[in-house]
Subunit: 83 residues, 2 copies
């Protein structure tokens, strides 16, 4: 078993409204950042997993996303394993 670091990015689907991102955009514009055309807001998770192989670590991270970390209806996710 080796320790792998998995970087997981969970973002709202492109086709859906993103109220949190819109709130951030409005707050930025109110602060004077008028050149902000859009903001999308999501989560970034860094998970340390013990797994026998790198592929197995990636597979476990995807299962975690499917079961807990991402909403399969409204969010997309991406997992990057290192080293």
């Amino acid at each position: 078993m080796s320790a792998y670091t998995v970087e997981i990015r969970v973002m709202p689907r492109a086709s859906l409204l993103d109220p949190q991102g819109q709130a951030v955009q409005h707050a930025l514009q109110a602060l004077g950042f008028r050149d902000v055309a859009s903001v999308r807001a999501g989560k970034h998770l860094v998970v340390e997993v013990d797994a026998p192989t790198r592929d197995e670590a990636a597979a476990r991270a995807r299962t975690m996303c499917d079961r807990l970390l991402a909403n399969p209806v409204t969010e997309d996710y991406e997992c990057i394993v290192s080293p």
Copy 2:
């Protein structure tokens, strides 16, 4: 003026406790993911900025982080501009 996409990652400082990450770790372990050694939870923002140059877009994104998007006491941030 060109449109630039800035990917901003805001994470809790490594030296600080991360209660949100710990909550996710406990939830994963309760679901049976016993090989999760740690979880750190942060934000991922994708900001579309109109700016004259790529460097200017990066500078504006850093100012946004300093003024609104990141807590300078508890969080670190990273900005990646594309294209």
